[in-house]
């Protein structure tokens, strides 16, 4: 029952993030560049929820974004799925109590996601390769994501551990070793 409630909350959060991203962050930008909240969201699910949930949520959100905005389906689907998968790997190997590790993960995964999406589009759609413009946008986006992670970290942690208790139950002891 509680698990169902958590799933509903997560889906609602995804929609809220979508509306934030398409309205609020369209004008609340750093030099015209938006953050990418979906990467943070997928990372959060991958870190705290059960094993496959990060990957599945990443794929579903990616598919949703593809359907709404892209011409070809599959790029965000694969990229966000990979982000969720990497997050579950991070969950096994790193502590989640430190703000710094979460920040580094956010930066790393944002870079992974955007590089995959950009180069996939380059190969599929045949756009011009503009490395410097791309790097500039990527850098600002990573900084924006980091600032947002710092702000919402306490919320992430509180809700995250609540979720972890529900999904992982007795396996949670591994956290202390």
């Amino acid at each position: 029952m509680k698990k169902l409630l958590i799933h509903i909350i997560l889906i609602l959060t995804a929609f809220i993030i979508y509306f934030l991203q398409s309205n609020f962050f369209n004008w609340f930008t750093i030099a015209g560049i938006m953050p990418n909240l979906f990467v943070i969201f997928t990372l959060f699910i991958g870190l705290f929820a059960s094993k496959m949930m990060g990957t599945i949520y990443g794929m579903v959100i990616g598919l949703f974004l593809d359907v709404i905005f892209r011409e070809k389906i599959g790029v965000s689907f694969i990229a966000l799925g990979l982000v969720g998968f990497l997050a579950t790997i991070f969950d096994k190997n790193f502590s989640k109590d430190s703000r710094m590790t979460i920040m580094l993960m956010t930066a790393g995964l944002t870079i992974v996601y955007e590089v995959i999406v950009y180069f996939a589009n380059y190969f599929i759609l045949g756009t011009n390769l503009e490395i410097f413009a791309f790097l500039k946008i990527l850098l600002i986006e990573v900084i924006f994501n980091l600032l947002l992670t710092i702000i919402i970290y306490p919320l992430l942690q509180k809700f995250g551990y609540y979720m972890e208790n529900e999904f992982k139950g007795n396996k949670i002891l591994t956290r202390y070793f």
């Binding site: 930008t29 015209g32 938006m34 709404i68 905005f69 999406v117 413009a133 946008i137």
Partner: protein, 270 residues
Amino acid sequence: MYRNHKTGILGIVITIILLILIVVFSNGENNASFFENVASKLVMPVQNGLTYLKNKISGNDTFFTDINKLKEENEQLLAKNSELEQSLRELENIKTENETLKEYMNLTEKYGEYKTIPAYVINRDISNYSKTIVINVGTNDGVKEDMTVIGDQGLVGHIVSVTDTTAKVQTIIDTASSVSATMSSTDETIVCKGTLESTTELKAMYIPTDYNIIQGDSIETSGLGGIYPKGIHIGTVKQVEATKNVTDRYAVIETAVDFDKLSTVLVITN
């Protein structure tokens, strides 16, 4: 990490303030003018009153000495007035002439020959790397794939997919978009592509070496390629970048449509 709870909250507050400051200052003029507006609204009534008072007081002592001057000025102004009236009549003539000429050239019918459906932009892209928009008309309104979308100033893009009530539009500033265009003065064809760097500029590449590109020249769609009809305004040539190799040169084209403020568009249906 933050054992002390207070330090943690302080950190978050500082980050929020920092983020807002970065956003405000990085976006330059727009926000600056917003703050200017607020500031001027606060100060203006007082300032107006003070200026009014000052003018009243300082105007008093000059009132009597200026009568002679005023008479002279009056005569001058009367003469000028009749002169202006004459030129106004002349301008009126030119205006009517201009209108008949325009009709002659069928300029008014240029966009009239297309059937259009008005639409609102209901969604903008959430990614930094592509510039797709979603509009609120779909197959129910008779919109199909590959139809051309224009704004009040010029070309916006074309429709890449439709649902019953919405349609996805790939704008011409998207990096995956390329439009075949002609220059108005020379009738030569170039290809305009979207860039990552700017939301107001296109890049015209692969320009043949014998082409003359003139700064400020107006650019229109050429009708080649089958998606866009001929003769829709795209923008003007902002600058021509010469490189060492003539074949590498490119031109920067400023779009007529302001994509940041785009809210209503027209879909051409025939």
